[in-house]
């Protein structure tokens, strides 16, 4: 599938080692079969790599920037010209926010609070772009939302 436009996130995936998806956020139109295929392909590509490998891997016409935290792989699919390290740290920034928000986040938090994870994502990434990078600002907003009925 050829994708128009350049320079933005195509999707964000959080998967565990077994390949179970903990979050899938799509910034392009894919049909459901295509999504499933992408999820499986990403898992196959990323899980075979070891710690000495880079955090980047070519993927179709794109690249996956990923980092592993315990049993979870956080993957961002971007354009080949995109800045690898900026997205690698965007992942970490996101993970630190989750960690703060869920207080030592673990995989189960993402399962039981899946609907809140989407809110966190939308605060930090929107329309395939980085929306907000300040952890303080994001957490302040999340707490405010948390207090609402």
């Amino acid at each position: 599938k050829k994708l128009a436009g350049r320079g933005s996130i195509r999707f964000i995936l959080i998967q565990n080692r077994a390949g179970k998806t903990r979050l899938a956020k799509w910034y392009m139109q894919f049909d459901d079969d295509e999504k499933q295929k992408l999820i499986e392909e990403v898992h196959a590509v990323v899980t075979v790599r070891d710690a000495k490998h880079t955090n980047f891997v070519e993927f179709r016409n794109f690249k996956i920037i990923y980092r592993r935290y315990a049993g979870l792989y956080f993957c961002i699919c971007v354009d080949v010209n995109d800045n690898n390290l900026a997205y690698l740290e965007a992942i970490h920034n996101f993970v630190e926010v989750l960690n703060e928000y869920f207080h030592n986040v673990c995989e189960l938090d993402l399962v039981f609070n899946f609907y809140k994870v989407y809110t966190v994502v939308d605060e930090m990434f929107l329309a395939g772009e980085i929306r907000e990078t300040s952890q303080t600002k994001v957490l302040k907003q999340l707490l405010m939302l948390q207090s609402l009925e």
Partner: protein, 977 residues
């Protein structure tokens, strides 16, 4: 920070999720889900109205079930209802359900527009953001139609909260990407640019992305962003590590914003304003300086954030490609990273250096790292890093280091990962050809490739070595000797047998004087491999054998014996059997002279793009960034290779005019099977009746049909009409019919159709063109019930056309029965640019009366267009390069047809050029680019068509590197609208 407890607020949901997790099997899970679905359905259908909380809970359960991979076919209305709740948590679940499921149910969108409108107007920033996020997540055209006009207003409104502005900016970006036509540019654009000055860094972060996207299509409208971006960047880069507080990440001030600003600047050439430029250069230097400072933290996050900015800075420096000092500094910095202990940095340094290698300012600096890069190729653990190392070696290769690089790559090939072997083979083959000083080195290299990685040597590679050996007589003897030696190895790769067989069949005579490689020795060496080879290779060897009979009459008896053997003559494979039968007969029946003619040495191949280069490009995709693909590099390497390669006709270094567009022709796809075949060849030799069915392809064709469309020099020439001299001269035929020009014009933008029709005769055309070659089928239909006699269509080249265009025709039957149709095939080769089309003269007798008719054959120069894609900046750069007055042709003319953009587009594509989007600032205009491929030269063409609907006029501008071509194309195209 207080932590969120598990599933707080929705106990029923948490219980359900736990149940699912506890299911021991897929069946149990499905059972549990079906139970829940039944429960929810009954609640939704029940008489009792559900409260908001229950509705939220059930919708959330449905969403969970959907995310597990099950279809959801109800609950949408309940989700929509949640949108009008005034409670945040209910609204949020409603929006989430819709954003996630919208793909599978676009009906939903229409139902929710109203709710979104209300939320956008609510002045409640939380609700506004929810609505904006929903639009951004869905991003459909319907949403664009409903909201594209409102969002700019929200974005620039003085009273919008910062978080709303952030969301609005990115929401607008999404709508603009999906449907740019729906987003009206207006006075808000200037105010968007000024968001770069906003106090809130989050707003700036979001706004830069929007501006970057908008300015790509409207660079001039957003030009003011350059100075604002530079000053913002400058403030960040020069701030201390704690100045920016919330936006400092591991002691690095605003890394993501810096990266985004640096990327925005890459949409433009260097700033024209000297002060702005000075300030920017200062920033870039500061970043480079900071890279040398000791780290403020040992954490990898610190160095990653810092280096993210550094790599983006280097990208900008490379993009400008105008500051030698910065380029060399960037190269030195990357050189340090090549040996860094972080794999990520080594990888990125190799990748970034690859682009630096193509800048004339830094090419030499990159070359100094050759040993490190070679070492990386040998020692890196991650195959993707090794691959980048191979890419970089390829990019830094020039005359001075080609031998070293090629030999290192060959050595690496022995242990290389299977995944990248083929690519390495292609690269070695290209470098060996491109930088060959003496062609014996080239031949050695390719044979080494076959020896080391025979399985990965694709057809393109060994075809290419045959082309080069065929075209260069100084290397033929060496090649024959070398393959002869290589074939002595007890186990040699089948590709070696193919190359060896072909070369000895052509040039074995050059080494036949040496008793160690006398003809019988050559033959028995080849024949010792025969039985182990595939059918294709055996077929090739049979052709070598028949060539031997011509080269070495003393081998005739032995070879005839081989051909006569039952294993050949009755071979189960049709191709082998046929070749054996034909060759045996040919060798016994034909006289020596005939044999010598039929089997004479292959003529030189017409020069065109190296098939291997094309293959590498296919593998890597467009813009793969290798130095060889880069026009500028080629311009400089041309003169390097000039000394090696004085005759432009032998090696595929493109002519300078090709560099104009910096792109090479794509390879011709496999040519359609040649209509004529060995059968006809034999028929001619034996003087037999033309009705004999055609047999298999000749061996030579078997080679070529994969590689080359038939060209006059190819063996096909043997098969073509042997009497072109019989064509009537131009003086013998009448002038073209009055409508000829009009008929011709109909075919400028299309290839198929009815060329001519009257009461007697209909002439249809079907044609296809690739590169500088074409094939045309003419269909002559007799519309009457009476036979046409002496039917003779011929092609005539008026004036100089003979030297510009070669057209080969085959004779057609002299009688065309009433109601019948005959077909004529024309092979066309464009030798150089031409202005007048060839003429088609058709003569026949109808009811005893002579009829004659002259038409213009629909072959115009644009048929040899190769479309070329390029980015806006490349287009403008090339446009500027063609600014001599004689290179431009322009016409302003009235529209003859309704002005329809789609029709215009189709015509321009039919004309042959690529249509480039996002180049012309005015979206009404059309911009195209392409290369005219002729045998002698390539002509790069750029065109621009500006419709003016009000005046019903067009302005058409052509720029090419050749004056007559510009004018001619302009005239041809102007008549189409």
């Amino acid at each position: 920070m207080p932590a969120v407890s598990k599933g707080d607020g929705m106990r029923g949901l948490a219980v359900f999720i736990s149940d699912i997790r506890n299911c021991k099997s897929k069946e149990a899970e499905i059972k549990r889900i079906n139970k829940e679905l039944a429960n929810i359905r009954s609640k939704f259908k029940g008489d009792k109205a559900l409260d908001g909380y229950s509705k939220k809970k059930y919708v959330c359960k449905l969403l969970f079930i959907f995310l597990l991979g099950h279809d959801i076919d109800f609950g949408h209305m309940e989700a929509v209802n949640l949108l009008s709740s005034n409670k945040y948590t209910e609204k949020q679940i409603g929006y989430l359900f819709i954003s996630v499921l919208v793909n599978s149910n676009s009906e939903l969108i229409r139902l929710i527009n109203n709710a979104i409108k209300n939320d956008l107007a609510s002045r409640n920033p939380t609700f506004m953001c929810l609505a904006l996020h929903c639009i951004a997540n869905v991003g459909s055209r319907e949403m664009g139609e409903a909201f594209a006009a409102d969002i700019p207003r929200i974005l620039v409104a003085g009273d919008s909260m910062d978080s709303v502005k952030q969301s609005a900016a990115l929401c607008l970006l999404r709508l603009y990407k999906a449907s740019p036509d729906l987003v009206p540019m207006g006075e808000w654009t200037a105010r968007v640019v000024h968001l770069l000055n906003d106090q809130h860094m989050g707003v700036v972060t979001a706004a830069v992305s929007l501006i970057t996207c908008l300015c790509k299509k409207n660079p001039d409208d957003f030009k003011t962003c350059i100075s604002l971006a530079v000053s913002r960047l400058s403030r960040i880069v020069s701030s201390a590590s704690t100045d920016l507080q919330d936006y400092t990440y591991y002691f690095v001030p605003a890394p993501w914003l810096s990266v985004k600003l640096l990327r925005l600047l890459q949409c433009y050439p260097p700033p024209e304003d000297a002060a702005v430029k000075g300030r920017l250069v200062e920033c870039l230097e500061t970043v480079l300086n900071k890279a040398q400072e000791p780290p403020k933290s040992k954490k990898v996050q610190h160095s990653n954030a810092k280096n993210a900015i550094l790599f983006e800075t280097i990208s900008l420096i490379i993009h400008y490609d105008s500051e030698p000092n910065l380029l060399v500094r960037a190269c030195n910095q990357l050189g340090q990273f090549l040996q860094h202990r972080e794999t990520n940095l080594r990888y990125l340094a190799l990748e970034s250096m690859c682009t630096l290698a193509s800048s004339e300012f830094s090419h030499e600096a990159v070359k100094t790292h050759i040993d490190t890069v070679i070492n990386a190729l040998k020692t890196e653990r991650d195959v993707s890093v090794r691959q980048r190392a191979a890419d970089l070696l390829y990019a830094m290769c020039d005359r001075s280091n080609a031998k070293q690089i090629v030999s290192e790559m060959l050595r690496y090939l022995e242990t290389a990962d299977y995944a990248i072997r083929e690519e390495i083979v292609l690269k070695v083959a290209i470098l060996a050809e491109k930088y060959a000083v003496d062609y014996s080195w080239y031949v050695d290299t390719i044979l080494n490739l076959i020896r080391i990685a025979g399985d990965y040597v694709s057809e393109e590679v060994w075809y290419r070595v045959l082309q080069i050996v065929t075209n260069r007589d100084d290397v033929q003897g060496y090649a024959a000797k070398t393959v002869f030696e290589a074939l002595q190895a007890p186990a040699c790769h089948e590709n070696m047998v193919k190359v060896g067989g072909y070369i000895l069949g052509e040039f074995g005579n050059l080494i036949a004087g040496d008793p160690r490689s006398s003809p019988p020795v050559q033959f028995s060496l080849l024949h010792s491999k025969f039985h182990l080879c595939s059918v294709a290779t055996r077929a090739l060897l049979l052709s070598t054998y028949i060539k031997f009979i011509n080269l070495f009459p003393e081998t005739k008896a032995t070879i005839q014996g081989v051909l006569r053997a039952g294993s050949q003559l009755r071979n189960a494979d049709v191709e082998l059997q046929q070749r054996a039968v034909e060759y045996l007969t040919l060798s016994s029946v034909a006289s020596t002279d005939v044999l010598a003619t039929v089997l004479e040495e292959m003529p030189p191949f017409p020069e065109r793009e190296s098939s291997i280069l094309a293959k590498l490009k296919r593998k890597k995709g467009p813009g793969a960034g290798s130095a060889l693909d880069d026009g500028r590099r080629d311009a400089s390497s041309n003169d390097i290779n000039g000394g090696v390669e004085p005759t432009p006709s032998t090696v595929s270094t493109p002519s300078p005019s090709a560099d104009l567009l910096g792109l090479r022709a794509a390879p011709p796809p496999a040519a359609p099977p040649a209509p004529a075949s060995a059968g006809n060849l034999l028929v001619d030799v034996f003087d037999g009746p033309a009705a004999q069915p055609s047999l298999g392809a000749t061996p030579e064709e078997a080679f070529l049909s994969e590689l080359e469309p038939p060209a006059p020099e190819s063996p096909m020439a043997l098969l073509a009409d042997p009497a072109p001299a019989a064509d009537p001269g131009p003086e013998d035929i009448g002038p073209p019919i009055p409508e000829a020009d009009e008929l011709l014009n109909k075919f400028v933008c299309k290839n198929n159709g009815v060329l001519f029709e009257n009461q007697l005769l209909q002439i249809g055309v079907k044609s296809e063109f690739r590169q500088n070659l074409g094939r045309m089928y003419l269909f002559y239909g007799n519309k009457t019930s009476v036979q046409f006699q002496n039917f003779s269509p011929t092609v005539v080249h008026p004036g100089d056309l003979q030297t510009q265009l070669a057209v080969q025709t085959k004779r057609v039957a002299a009688q065309v029965d009433g109601g019948a149709q005959v077909q004529q095939v024309l092979n066309i080769e464009c030798l150089r640019d031409f202005l007048t089309p060839p003429l088609l003269s058709v003569r026949f007798r109808y009811g005893g009366a002579p009829q004659s008719l002259t038409l213009k054959l629909p072959v115009t120069i644009n048929k040899f267009f190769q479309p070329t894609e390029m980015a806006a900046q490349d287009f403008f750069q090339r446009w500027k390069q063609l600014s001599l007055p004689q290179q431009e042709a322009q016409k302003i003319f009235k529209a003859n047809h309704p002005m329809d953009a789609e029709v215009t587009k189709a015509k321009l594509l039919g004309f042959g050029s690529a249509l480039l989007d996002n180049v012309d600032p005015n979206p009404e205009n059309f911009v195209g680019a392409g290369i005219i491929q002729t045998k002698a030269l390539q002509v790069g063409c750029l065109l621009r068509l500006e419709p003016n609907a009000q005046a019903q006029m067009y302005r058409l501008t052509l720029r090419t590197s050749k004056e007559p071509v510009s004018r001619h194309l302009c005239e041809l195209l102007a008549q189409q609208f």
